[in-house]
């Protein structure tokens, strides 16, 4: 019952991870539990050969199943998500996002590929039965600039958009948790003791 970050960039450090890092820090500040799954930590051989039974793949898959919300960050490669992200999503069950809230984040070299978020990533996520895919945040490389110490500096505009996205994420995440808390276990008819 927490928020899981999927980092879909094959390189490190990465701009897309800088976006996730910002959102994660903001969640920490608000006291929302969150954890991170770096897809580069998974065994490449198991990913590429679709070894569902590999212990590390299985553990990663269980972490996704246990999360109530996901923040999925990817660089835009060839006008779509990274192959690394897709190869991991391919190893999840078809309804692997069932009941979850998802926030997509993407970075790209140019603004020309902004629609990749809506036209490439969103249909993939939508096919996996999420409760809700929030509007994503797309940042061009110039708005996630590297400073002289090698750290990424986010532009004010991107910070505003990430803060708005975090607001939405936290709101929907809490709403999801409270809906679950209010859910009553169904009672079989033969165990009903009185009715009104």
């Amino acid at each position: 019952m927490s928020i899981l970050f999927l980092q879909g960039s094959p390189v490190e450090p990465s701009r897309s991870a800088a976006l996730s890092g910002f959102v994660a820090a903001e969640l920490d500040r608000r006291g929302v539990e969150n954890t991170r799954l770096k897809l580069t930590d998974l065994p490449a051989h198991a990913l590429l050969h679709a070894r569902f039974g590999d212990p590390q793949i299985r553990a990663a898959s269980e972490r996704v199943a246990a999360a109530s919300a996901l923040v999925i960050a990817t660089p835009v490669y060839k006008a779509a998500y990274s192959g690394l992200l897709k190869s991991f999503l391919d190893l999840l069950p078809q309804n692997g996002l069932d009941g979850k809230v998802v926030l997509p984040l993407a970075t790209a070299g140019s603004p020309h590929h902004a629609l990749a978020l809506d036209y490439a990533l969103r249909p993939v996520l939508q096919s996996m039965s999420p409760a809700l895919v929030l509007p994503g945040v797309h940042a061009t490389d110039s708005t996630v600039a590297k400073d002289e110490h090698g750290n990424y500096q986010l532009s004010d505009d991107i910070i505003d958009r990430l803060l708005q996205a975090t607001d939405r994420l936290v709101y929907e995440y809490r709403a999801l948790l409270s809906r679950r808390a209010q859910q009553v276990e169904p009672v079989p008819f033969d165990q009903v003791r009185c009715s009104v």
Partner: protein
Amino acid sequence: MSRLKVVVVNGSPTRPSRTRALAESVLAEIQREVAVDSDIVDLADIGTALGAHLFRNALPASLEEALRSIEGADLLLVASPVYKGSYPGLFKHVFDLVAPEALTGKPVLLVATGGGDKHALVIEHQLRPLFGFFRAQTLPTGVYGAEADLKDYTVSSEALASRVVDAALEAARALRQLGAESASAATARSARTSVAA
């Protein structure tokens, strides 16, 4: 032998139109390469009337003529503005009235314009699949222009100008190939005729 014909479809209902300006600059570049006739079907001219007609069989003559021009083109130069992340509804209505088999194999050059750069993929995600349905032959290079690339309704950025040239060269190649095919077909026909005579 009649000349090949390029038909421009301008999907913008406004005038002046950046979309039309960009389409015309691509057309001009094509015509520097190959001598072709051209026609333009412009939603600024036919949009209002077109919106009042839902079926092909009851179109007034002028609209029927516009659709025949599209169907009869040797190469279509299709240009659309981006509305809400896609082509305008009226643009789609034009192609909803085009016969499904009429564009099979036809070379189509895709052009789009939008407020900013962020809608560039509209060419790949919206326009290209539409012509995929028609089994048309969309040319590899699409041309996308943002407002900042089209100051005063002319191509004002170098990047866009070079993209226009790339796309026009592809179109010219497709047209030359069509010209060569129709010439060799004519030669074959006349050879058959002379054998028969």
